[in-house]
Amino acid sequence: MKNITNPETSVAAAGGKKRRREEEEEVGGSHAANEDECFSLQDELTFSDTSVALRMMRAQFPRIDQASVPPFILQSQLYSSLNDRTQVDRELERLRRDKVVRVFKLNTGQDDHAIIFLDDYLYQVDRIAKRMEENKQSDTDIFKWFKEHVLDSKLEPSIAHHELCSLLALGGKVKDAHITLLINAGLLTRQLIDPDMYWFAIPSIGKLWKALLQGRKELLSLLKRKRHKEMFLAELEKRRLRYSPLDMRFHIRDLIGSGHLKTFQTTSGLVVRVSND
């Protein structure tokens, strides 16, 4: 396969790794979605650049028909896909400031952050606004103000109440009912950490959130039941999870990045093991 050089790829940190050679092609993959089943996870576990990694993982996001959720990537998945975590953090920060992606904090109890491309998110917000209009709920201008004023200026995953009100007021008169509407639509939420702060949320994330937690538990228990708590990556990838519609690749990357699993190279390929540190 031809090795297409990506002009924005920074110099690969540990260049010359055989497995990374094969996935530098097909950036912007509309046909990646069809062909990626041919590449096993073993070949494309790591990438060379954050934006390449983000786009490839977005293309690999499983299509779930019941939930209309934009494809998201967890930060732990990014950590497992790239060598240098500091570099990942800095590049992600750069992308966030350039308004290419948006970071959301998920309410899982651990430090989970979901990264979504801004275009996908805005498309989702528009869909919700349209749906609310169809249901003839009053005052759907709030979504427009939200998009224009709040999303544009506030890049962090959380926002304080008074700041939210002042930013929305730039669009028009804000009532409490408007904020209730935003929460009902799933765009804002509150978490137990701080009663004064609203957190930006991904709309209709509930089903996938549950799937994430259950899938993690299932995968870990699957591996823990083995005698030596390890399994070949190629074999693990072929299994299906019962409780999670998200695919196995998603969960494997996530658990490697958060430190619950570790991989090491053997003569027959990569092996995944539960880490005991």
Binding site: Y79, D84, R85, T86, V88, D89, R90, E93, R94, Q110, D111, E156, P157, A160, H161, H162, C165, V174, D176, R190, L192, I193, D194, P195, D196, M197, S258, G259, S275, D277
Partner: protein, 433 residues
């Protein structure tokens, strides 16, 4: 090695860089020491280690069984295996049997920074005791409102001898040894304070990290904290950005009184309608209590300031990050999981710039500016609580829940380094699978 010495003699290498090269070579070969051993008298997890600041010779340790012990790191008490392994027994120890000893776990033991005549221990029995080293008697007692998590004394202090104490109470108290009373009470945290650290660049600045995830900077000469670190205020790169003129809002609009803050943390009630901005008159020093920024999403378990005073490293639930004064530098140390219920103590070395962080059962050394793991020390049987780096000898002391104090020293003897140029005769039969 001989060539390096010759280069120094002829002036090709300046003295400082010769010493630094030697030190960095030694540090990069740190491994479990097979020549030196501390015989630990503790019967509980060792929570705190500190080498004294004046000579770098005496190691003070505090443990969960209420005992504190002092070891001499340079002179062994006896030796085994015909002089090859040196055993260091403790010079003395004060434990529960001592008439003035602590009754519960000692969470923190620090030396008096001026000389080794005094040391200070803080314990879960709500007391901070100042001990006289020569007579092993407790000289002063301070009673705290809650369990003491950490005590700290400033190594730069010229004009004060204050002990900063972080307890499970929300207020940080400063105790004065000279007068025997509390000199300051610093309020601003919304939960217990687990880590306290004095600044290495100013004798008046104190950094505290709380169980609420906030890190606050206090200048003890004025009221209130002057900065709260926010993890979303970031900088790209190691150097802080040149500050644009930032609009400072002195009166925060539309908030409730801060006394209700503690209760509201537990309940999630619906917000009343947006009222007109109610400006409550607060003392300017108390304005910082309204700042809710957090540096970590969980408990801040460890703080360490670098020796040049420009950066602060903080450890939280799953990550250890570096903050330059003001901004999050986005340095991500690949720590994996860190323990969250207990405070940990990190250590730094200057040249090469390394950070030693205890991660569960291992201690990992990270390059300070790259965030990558350079060395990993596996030797403890249980989780590691503290590490302390002795820069005069380039030795690392670590201790943990397995009651041991382990020594990690540069591998290879000095003679081995001198003979580096000659080919060492390899024993080809000495292999194993």
């Amino acid at each position: 090695m001989w060539q390096a010495i010759q280069a120094r003699e002829t002036g090709r290498t300046p003295c400082n860089s010769f010493a630094n090269q030697l030190k960095s070579r030694r540090i990069s070969s740190l491994q479990l020491c097979n020549r030196k051993d501390f015989v630990s008298p503790h019967r509980g997890a060792v929570n705190s280690l500190q080498v004294d600041l004046t000579e770098g010779r005496y190691l003070l340790s505090g443990a969960s069984d209420g005992s504190a012990a002092v070891f001499d790191t340079q002179r062994a008490t006896d030796s085994e295996a015909s002089g090859l392994i040196e055993k260091h027994k403790c010079v003395f120890s004060v434990d529960k049997g001592h008439e003035h000893g602590h009754r519960f776990a000692v969470s923190s033991a620090v030396w008096y920074p001026i000389d080794t005549g005094l040391f200070v221990t803080g314990s879960f029995d709500h007391l901070i005791k100042v001990w006289d080293t020569n007579t092993a008697q407790a000289v002063v007692d301070f009673k705290m409102p809650g369990k003491v998590y950490r005590t700290a004394m400033s190594s730069l202090a010229m004009s004060h001898t204050l002990i900063a104490a972080g307890t499970e109470d929300v207020q940080v108290r400063l105790c004065d040894i000279a007068s025997g009373a509390f000199s300051h009470t610093l309020s601003g945290h919304r939960d217990g304070v687990m880590s306290v650290e004095w600044s290495t660049s100013s004798e008046w600045v104190l950094y505290t990290g709380g169980c609420d995830g906030a890190i606050r900077f206090w200048d003890i000469r004025r009221a209130g904290c002057f900065r709260v670190l926010d993890q979303s205020v970031t900088q790209l790169g190691v150097r802080p950005p040149i500050l644009k003129h930032s609009a400072v809002s002195t009166k925060v609009s539309a908030e409730k009184s801060s006394s209700g803050a503690k209760n509201r943390l537990k309940t999630l009630h619906t917000r009343p309608s947006v009222e007109k901005a109610r400006q409550k008159r607060l003392h300017p020093g108390m304005l910082s209590t309204l700042d809710r920024a957090t540096a970590h999403y969980g408990v801040v378990t460890g703080l360490k300031a670098t020796n040049d005073g420009m950066y602060l490293l903080s450890a939280g639930k799953n990550k250890a990050v570096g903050y330059s004064i003001g901004c999050n530098t986005l340095l991500n140390f690949e720590t994996g999981r860190l323990q969250t219920s207990k405070a940990i103590q990190m250590a730094t070395s200057d040249d090469p710039a390394l950070v030693f962080v205890p991660c569960m059962k291992t201690v990992k050394a990270f390059g300070m500016w790259s965030g990558r793991t350079t060395l990993m020390f596996r030797g403890h049987y249980e989780s590691v609580n503290t590490c302390c780096f002795n820069s005069t000898d380039q030795e690392l002391y670590t201790s943990g829940a397995d009651r041991q104090i382990l020594v990690w020293s540069p591998g290879g003897s000095v003679e081995g380094e001198m003979d580096q140029d000659e080919e060492a005769a390899e024993d080809k039969d000495n292999w194993s699978d």
